[in-house]
Amino acid sequence: MSEIKKIKNLKEFSTSADRFEGANLLCPGCAHSIIVREVLNATHDPLILAASTGCLEVCTAVYPYTSWDNSWIHIGFENGSTAIAGAEAMYKARKRKGKLPKSCEGKTPKFVAFGGDGATYDIGFQWISGCFERGHDMMYVCLDNEVYANTGGQRSSSTPIGASTTTAPAGRVSYGEKMMKKDIVGIMAAHGAPYVAQVAPNKWKDMVKKIQKGFETEGPVFINAMSACTTEWKFAPDDTIAISDLATDSLVFPLYEIENGTKLRITYRPKNKVPVRDYLGAQGRFKHLFKPQYEYLIDEWQKMVDERWEYLQRREEASV
């Protein structure tokens, strides 16, 4: 097992590695880049990375440039997970045969795939499920911005109820998205994966701990990372962390982990719980909910979040 990286403070952490360059084409304020940095900076180990088609991919490897200082592959929208599983299989095979490159001596690379929520919850779900069922030693990180951002803001099955998207727009007779956000963390835990966690970039210590735990885990690890999108959630680029704080402190985006498919542990309990209304009110995508005919939805939202929090706490208590 490799040595776990010690991290003292945020300043040191955010500048401690150059594995992901600030030079990229992501929107100013995009949380994708913060999350990626936090994941890559959490370890000393060499990394082999994949990204699915989406904002992260199109903004970070535009020929002849790349923002990645590790080996990196993009195949398609749905198969970043399987690309990394294939690379991991190759590592195992060549290790067994004693045919790894010299540069691997004394080092153990970690295999990580990134995908947006579209790539994860929807089109790529079958591939991820397959990888997890087969138990590849890999980490899959979902950059969950609750929308197909790269193609201009269409709904995904991660889009929460009431959000206005280009394919589920709010209008005179519609409040926007009608479906509930899919419980991807629960679904991935149900695969019996050794480690599954939900993280947010503003809670960086929590995130780093979970990523490090993930890297120490043998077998498939799933990380769902809330990724605030300035463009589609519609907030100012310098508000990314403030919006993220609202999400975690309102418990719209609770932080927890599940081990071996059962053992659930909540990792963050806000001291001052913020009303869901404040979270929704800070983003343009929910603006219409504050019109009289849709305002009832805000109360329903609050009820939904409370119920979910109750459920998570009970599961934690019961340890099942």
């Binding site: 060499p46 082999i48 994949a50 991919e57 199109v58 490897a61 535009v62 020929y63 002849p64 790349t66 990645w68 200082d69 590790n70 080996s71 990196w72 592959i73 993009h74 195949i75 398609g76 749905e78 198969n79 399987t82 690309a83 990394i84 599983a85 294939g86 690379a87 299989a89 190759m90 590592y91 195992k92 095979a93 060549r94 067994r96 045969k97 045919k99 790894l100 490159p101 010299k102 540069s103 691997c104 080092k107 690379p109 079958q126 591939w127 499920s129 397959g130 069922e133 087969r134």
Partner: protein, 406 residues
């Protein structure tokens, strides 16, 4: 270390076993696969080699063909020898990733046991899947029998993995007719086969931690064209020579001779059938027979389908008066693939033969000696008349009213 398998000088293998034995002898590092009729046994045989210690790579049984090719791409980019097999619907599901594999210049070997595409659903052989892949940037080789399936699969590794080429290779064989027919096959020993293919040359390996690489970048109008043009250029200028070189080396080793374009009785032929797969043998048998009746018949077959051997085809058909291109795939709204390729090639030749298109054998329908005889007789009439005496495109072996076009 994997155990070696003692093989007889002559083994009785079907086409699937022949292909899986070649994969075993290549000592592939990663096979990511999904079963489908009629190529399933390739995967099954490989699984049993693994279970019995004859291979020691990773065998990843994924949840679909799309994932199979995705896993192969990730594995190949990581740096090692990779292969898989598929047919028909599975091939269709792979198509997106086939383009990714060739665009990233990854030398994966794909055994394709050709089968019809639904609807209607059909498990038998035709060349619909082969044709579906023809613009995907892969090198495509065609085997007529189990021996060739074995030989060409071995050679595919050496061709595709060459550092100047670095392109994926498909080896085609006819569903059931080849894949499920047991025949005598003369294998190389494990040591000879491995020595022939050689160690995998690790190029741009993601696993080389000292030299990180980026695969599958974004390019738009500024660079995409250059990448695609380079890939096409390498296919058109480097592959023919490399294939010839590997065919020659193989002949030296085994005495078995392969050509980029195969010719049977073509020295003085007036009429010729152009065909692929098992049909080539049938046509050659009939051509020999008809020669006794005074028809100077021959057969031409592109062993290499992609890149298209334009120059070699022109040479092979030089001086021929009438040519029939036999397509085993529904043309779905045009002349057949072979017709289009051959006609385009021969338009540039001095002798412009009369070229007709026969569509046959869809979904495993038999192609008989009688069918071939009739075609040659029509060709002889065309040659005599100097123009088509029958419609340009006809369906043969079809029940019901005769269908023909143009």
């Amino acid at each position: 270390m994997a155990e070696k398998m003692e093989l007889n000088e002559v083994e009785v293998w079907d086409g699937n076993m022949a292909a899986s034995q070649a994969l075993r002898q290549a000592q592939i590092d990663v096979v990511a696969a999904y079963p489908i009729t009629p190529s399933t046994p390739v995967v099954q045989n490989y699984g049993s080699f693994l279970a019995n210690g004859y291979v020691d790579g990773e065998f990843v049984m994924v949840e679909s063909e799309h994932a199979a090719m995705s896993g192969c791409v990730g594995a190949a980019a990581a740096g090692g020898r990779v292969a898989t097999a598929t047919s028909s619907q599975g091939f269709a599901l792979m198509v997106e990733v086939l383009y990714q594999a060739s665009g990233m210049r990854l030398p994966i070997v794909l055994v394709v046991v050709n089968r019809a595409l639904a609807a209607p659903l059909n498990v038998n052989g035709d060349h619909s899947d082969m044709y579906l892949g023809r613009d995907s940037g892969w090198i495509q080789l065609d085997a007529y029998n189990a021996q060739e399936a074995y030989d060409l699969t071995l050679m595919a590794f050496r061709i595709g993995e060459d550092v100047d080429i670095r392109l994926p290779v498909m080896v085609h064989q006819d569903g059931f007719i080849t894949s499920h027919t047991a025949e005598n096959v003369r294998p190389l020993s494990d040591d000879e086969a491995y020595a022939f293919i050689g160690e995998y040359p690790m190029v741009n390996a993601m696993l080389d931690l000292a030299k990180p690489v980026t695969y599958g970048v974004q390019t738009e109008e500024d660079w995409h064209f250059e990448h695609k043009a380079r890939q096409h250029h390498d296919l058109m200028t480097k592959v023919f020579g490399k294939v010839e070189e590997v065919f020659d080396a193989f002949e030296k080793k085994t005495g078995r001779k392969y050509n980029i374009v195969e010719e049977y009785f073509m020295d003085d032929a007036d009429v010729a059938i152009v065909a692929l797969g098992t049909t080539v043998d049938t046509a050659a048998y009939v051509a020999e027979k008809l020669r006794k009746e005074g028809i100077k018949a021959g057969v031409v077959s592109p062993r290499l389908i992609r890149p298209w051997p334009h120059a070699q085809m022109m040479e092979a058909l030089k001086g021929v008066k009438a040519v029939a291109c036999l397509d085993r795939s529904s043309p779905n709204g045009a002349m057949g693939m072979l017709y289009n390729e051959v006609a385009a090639t021969m338009y540039q030749s001095d002798s412009k033969p009369v070229i007709t298109n026969y569509v046959y054998g869809l979904g495993g329908r038999d192609f008989t000696v009688e069918h071939a005889e009739n075609i040659y007789k029509e060709l002889a009439a065309n040659a005599e008349a100097g123009k088509p005496t029958t419609p340009l495109q006809q369906f043969i072996g079809l029940r019901g009213p005769k269908l023909s076009f143009y």
